[in-house]
C-alpha cells in the first residue's frame, strides 16, 4: 500500500476519533510541557546558582591604576603563583604572620605608591596628565589607558575585558537630583556582571561606545531615586550639565548583591568610557576589569597581565608596578574589618592567598553544580516517567478501544502491516502535534514562571529534544505495540473483542 493512502487512512481515523485524538494530544502536551517546565526551572536554578557564585567574583581580575604595594624585589607582580610552583617553594611558609614581620632585616618593605615619588616617573603615555592629577592615589593614578585594555583583550585565556573610569556625579532630571557613582565602561560589562538583568531597556551598544554617544544606563536604585516608579528608559538626564539619553535600567536577580542605596553597582550610572574621555578630555582609565575564561586559569592570567603591562609601561626590572592586579577575593579581604595596614601586609605577604580563596570558591561551585545536576536529572527522570505513563495510558486506552476496528479492517482485507503502519502513523501524528503543543506550552509556562516568580529559567535545545523525544518514543511505542499485537491475531478474535 502506498504511504499516501496509509496516511489518509490514519488522518481520517484521527478525525473520526476526535475525542480520543484531543485527549491523546492533551496528554502528550501536558507530559512534554511538564517535563520541559521542570527542566527549565531546574536548569534555571542551576544557572542562577552559578551566576550567584560568579557574581561573587570567581574569575574576576581587576587591574587598578597606581600601586600601594610593599616594595620588594623578590615578590612583585601581584604574585599569584601556580600551586605547583608554590609547592616547590616549600622553604617559604605560606603565611608568615598574621601581622607582617619583615622576614629579614635587610629587605624593608613599605607601602609604596609611584605617585608619591616623583623619581619613579617613567616613559608613559599619560605621564603628562599625571602631574595635574591632585587626587592621585590607588585607582586615580593615571597609568592605565584604553590601549592597555585593548592589549589585554588579546591575551590568551582572557574572556571579557571592560574599561573602567569612575567619578562621583550629580544625576539631574528636572528638579530631581541624585549624587551617585558614575562608571565609564565598555559595552561588555554586562557579560562580566552575570547576574545583571535589564528590567527595561538594554545596556549601551558597541556602536554607541565607539561613537562616544551620550547615552546612560541607570542602576535600579539610582533610577528609583531620580524617576520613582516611572519608566526611565527614553528619558533624559543631565551629567556634568550635558544631556544623556537613558537606554536601560539595570537590576539583578542575585541575592548576594541585592541593590541598595550607596552600593557601587545599582546606585550608579553607566556610560561609555569613550564618552567620559571625550567630555572630560581624558585618556586614562581608573581600572580594567577582566574575566578569565576558566576559573582555574586566574593566576596565570594575572601573571600574563602583569607581564604585559610592565612591558607596555616600560617598567625596569628593579622597579615596582605602577598598577595593581588583584582579584575580587583579595579586594574583599582588603575591604574587610582589618586595619588597612594589616590587610595590606597580609595581601602583600601571603602569596597564594587568592589561590586558596579561589580554590575554595571553585570547590563550592563544583559541589553546587554537581548537586544541581543530580537534582535536575532526578526531576527530569520523574517528569519523564510521569509524562510517559500518562501518554502510555492514553495510547493503550485508544488502541484497546479500537481492537474491533482492527478486526473490521482485517476482515475486509487489510494486511497486518497495513494496520501496524496506520497505527504508527497515527501515533507519530499525535506525538508530533502533542510534542509541538507541549513545547509551546512548556515555553510559555517557563516564561510565565520566570516572570511571576522572578526565577530565571533556561530551556536548552537538548531539554526540548529529550522531552519530545521521550514523549514521542513512548507515544509511538504504545501506539504501535498493541496494534501490532492486535494485528497478529486472527481477525475473528479482534472482531469478537469486547
Amino acid at each position: 500500500m502506498s504511504t499516501r493512502s496509509t496516511l489518509s487512512i490514519s488522518l481520517r481515523a484521527l478525525r473520526r476519533n476526535r475525542l480520543q485524538t484531543v485527549l491523546t494530544i492533551t496528554g502528550m502536551t501536558i507530559g512534554v510541557a511538564a517535563v520541559l517546565t521542570m527542566i527549565a526551572i531546574g536548569s534555571g536554578a542551576e544557572t542562577a546558582i552559578e551566576d550567584q557564585i560568579r557574581a561573587a567574583g570567581m574569575n574576576l581580575i581587576v587591574v587598578t591604576a597606581g600601586n600601594y604595594k610593599v616594595k620588594s624585589t623578590e615578590d612583585f607582580g601581584g604574585g599569584a603563583v601556580e600551586p605547583s610552583a608554590a609547592l616547590r617553594r616549600n622553604d617559604e611558609p605560606v603565611v608568615r604572620a598574621a601581622i607582617w614581620v619583615p622576614p629579614t632585616q635587610t629587605k624593608v618593605r613599605v607601602a609604596f605608591h609611584p605617585e608619591d615619588d616623583p623619581m619613579e616617573k617613567h616613559n608613559h603615555p599619560t605621564a603628562k596628565q599625571r602631574l595635574g592629577d591632585s587626587e592621585a592615589g590607588l585607582g586615580s593614578a593615571a597609568t592605565l589607558t584604553a590601549a592597555d585594555a585593548e592589549a589585554i583583550r588579546g591575551l590568551d585565556g582572557v574572556q571579557y575585558v571592560a574599561e573602567g573610569l569612575h567619578q562621583n556625579v550629580h544625576v539631574k532630571a528636572g528638579d530631581k537630583r541624585w549624587f551617585t557613582r558614575l562608571h565609564g565602561t565598555d559595552e561588555r560589562l554586562p557579560l562580566i556582571r552575570r547576574a545583571w538583568t535589564f528590567g527595561s531597556g538594554r545596556f549601551f551598544s558597541a556602536r554607541e561606545q565607539s561613537r562616544a554617544e551620550q547615552v546612560a544606563v541607570l542602576g535600579a536604585v539610582a533610577a528609583q531615586r531620580v524617576f520613582g516608579d516611572a519608566n526611565a528608559v527614553g528619558r533624559e538626564v543631565a551629567l556634568w550639565n550635558q544631556p544623556f539619553r537613558i537606554v536601560g535600567v539595570v537590576s539583578t536577580t542575585s541575592w548576594m548583591v541585592a541593590p541598595a542605596a550607596g552600593d557601587d553597582q545599582f546606585d550608579a550610572v553607566y556610560i561609555p568610557f569613550s564618552t567620559v574621555h571625550r567630555l572630560l578630555n581624558l585618556s586614562k582609565l581608573n581600572d580594567i576589569t577582566i574575566t578569565a575564561a576558566s576559573t582555574g586559569d586566574v593566576s596565570r592570567v594575572m601573571g600574563e597581565v602583569t607581564k604585559l603591562l610592565r612591558a607596555r609601561h616600560n617598567i625596569g626590572e628593579d622597579k615596582p608596578d605602577d598598577f595593581t592586579v588583584t582579584t575580587q577575593a583579595r579586594q574583599a579581604l582588603a575591604k574587610g574589618g582589618m586595619r588597612p595596614d594589616v590587610a595590606r601586609a597580609v595581601v602583600g605577604n601571603v602569596g597564594g592567598l587568592e589561590k586558596v580563596t579561589l580554590e575554595q570558591l571553585g570547590k563550592t561551585l563544583d559541589r553546587a553544580t554537581r548537586t544541581m545536576t543530580a537534582l535536575l536529572a532526578g526531576i527530569a527522570a520523574v517528569s519523564l516517567l510521569v509524562g510517559g505513563i500518562g501518554i502510555m495510558n492514553v495510547m493503550l486506552l485508544s488502541v484497546t478501544e479500537r481492537t474491533r476496528e482492527i478486526g473490521i479492517r482485517r476482515a475486509v482485507g487489510a494486511r497486518a502491516r497495513d494496520v501496524r503502519s496506520q497505527f504508527v502513523i497515527e501515533a507519530v501524528a499525535l506525538s508530533l502535534a502533542g510534542g509541538i503543543a507541549g513545547v509551546i506550552v512548556g515555553l510559555l509556562a517557563a516564561r510565565a514562571l520566570s516572570q511571576y516568580l522572578r526565577w530565571s529559567t533556561t530551556i536548552s535545545p537538548s531539554a526540548v529534544l529529550l522531552s519530545v523525544g521521550v514523549a514521542a518514543a513512548v507515544g509511538i511505542f504504545f501506539g504501535w505495540y498493541p496494534a501490532k499485537q492486535a494485528a497478529r491475531l486472527d481477525p475473528i478474535q479482534s472482531l469478537r473483542y469486547e
Binding site: 500500500m1 502506498s2 493512502s5 489518509s8 487512512i9 481520517r12 473520526r16 476519533n17 474491533r404 476496528e405 478486526g407 473490521i408 479492517r409 482485517r410 476482515a411 475486509v412 482485507g413 487489510a414 494486511r415 497486518a416 502491516r417 497495513d418 486472527d490 481477525p491 475473528i492 472482531l495
Partner: protein, 256 residues
C-alpha cells in the same frame, strides 16, 4: 469462471478446539463438505453448534485446529497472512449480525474500505468514491451516503454492510446471522438481495442462521449440531423473497 464440478470450497475433517480453563471446548469435531460455485448454502443449527466457527474458518477469519481446507484448489494452511488478507479482500465478502461498520464514519467511507486495501490494483480516491456510491445505489441508499451508522436503521446499516461486502466483486459472500438484528420485513429484503446475487451474478453464498425459516431461502441446507454436520441436502422448496416482498407490498401486514 464457473468450472462445473470443481468445488470452490473443500473442507476435509475440520476441527476447532478452544483451549479454555478446565476442559477444552470442541467447537468443530470433524466437518467434511464441499461447496460448489454459485451455491446458496444455508447453515442452520442451535447456538453453540459450531456453525459460526465453521463460517469463520471458511472465510479465513480463523484457522482450523486440524483438517484440510482447500479454497479454490489452494490449501489455506499454506498461505501467508498477507495472502489470506488478499483473499479476504478480493474473493470474500462478509455480512455480520452486528453489521461491523466503523463508527463515526459515513456510509460511503465504510463501503470504500475494501478498495483501500486492494493492493494489487490500486484505485484512485475519485474512482473509489464513484464505485462506493454505485454500490450504495445498488442497495438503495444513495441518499444516505453521508450518514453515520448511528443515524441509520438496522436494515440500512445491514445494506451498507452488504454494499461494502460486494464492492470488490467477490466470488463468495459469507453472512453470519445477517437477519438476527432485523425485523422480518427487512430480513426478507436482505434475503431478496442475496437471492438476486446468486441468481444474477453467480455469487457463492454461505448463510449462517439459527432460524429454519430463513434457511429456506437457500438452495442447499446444512444442519449442524455439536460441531458436526447432521444433515446436508438440496432445498427443493426454496422460498422466493422477491415474491414475498410483492405480496407484502400489496397487503397491509408486516408479518411474513
Amino acid at each position: 469462471m464457473i468450472t462445473g464440478d470443481t468445488a470452490l470450497i473443500a473442507a476435509h475433517d475440520i476441527t476447532k478446539t478452544y483451549a479454555m480453563e478446565g476442559a477444552p471446548v470442541h467447537a468443530l469435531r470433524g466437518v467434511t463438505l464441499d461447496i460448489r460455485r454459485g451455491e446458496f448454502v444455508a447453515v442452520v443449527g442451535p447456538s453453540g453448534s459450531g456453525k459460526s466457527t465453521f463460517m469463520h474458518i471458511l472465510g479465513c477469519l480463523d484457522r482450523p485446529t486440524s483438517g484440510r481446507y482447500l479454497l479454490d484448489g489452494r490449501d489455506v494452511s499454506d498461505l501467508s497472512d498477507d495472502e489470506l488478507s488478499a483473499i479476504r479482500n478480493r474473493q470474500i465478502g462478509f455480512v455480520f449480525q452486528g453489521f461491523n461498520l466503523l463508527a463515526r464514519t459515513s456510509a460511503v467511507e465504510n463501503v470504500e474500505l475494501p478498495l483501500l486495501y486492494a493492493h494489487d490494483r490500486p484505485v484512485s480516491p475519485a474512482e473509489r468514491r464513484r464505485r462506493a456510491m454505485a454500490a450504495l445505489a445498488a442497495v438503495g441508499l444513495q441518499d444516505r451516503a453521508e450518514h453515520h451508522p448511528n443515524q441509520l436503521s438496522g436494515g440500512q446499516q445491514q445494506r451498507v454492510a452488504i454494499a461494502r461486502a460486494l464492492l470488490n466483486d467477490p466470488a463468495m459472500l459469507f453472512a453470519d446471522e445477517p437477519t438476527g438484528n432485523l425485523d422480518s420485513r427487512t430480513s426478507v429484503e436482505v434475503m431478496d438481495i442475496f437471492q438476486r446475487l446468486k441468481d444474477e451474478r453467480g455469487i457463492t453464498i454461505v448463510l449462517i442462521t439459527h432460524e429454519p425459516q430463513v434457511a429456506e431461502y437457500g438452495s442447499r441446507i446444512i444442519r449442524f449440531k455439536d460441531g458436526r454436520v447432521v444433515s446436508d441436502h438440496p432445498n427443493t422448496s426454496r422460498r422466493a423473497a422477491a415474491t414475498e416482498l410483492e405480496a407484502v407490498a400489496l397487503g397491509p401486514s408486516e408479518d411474513v
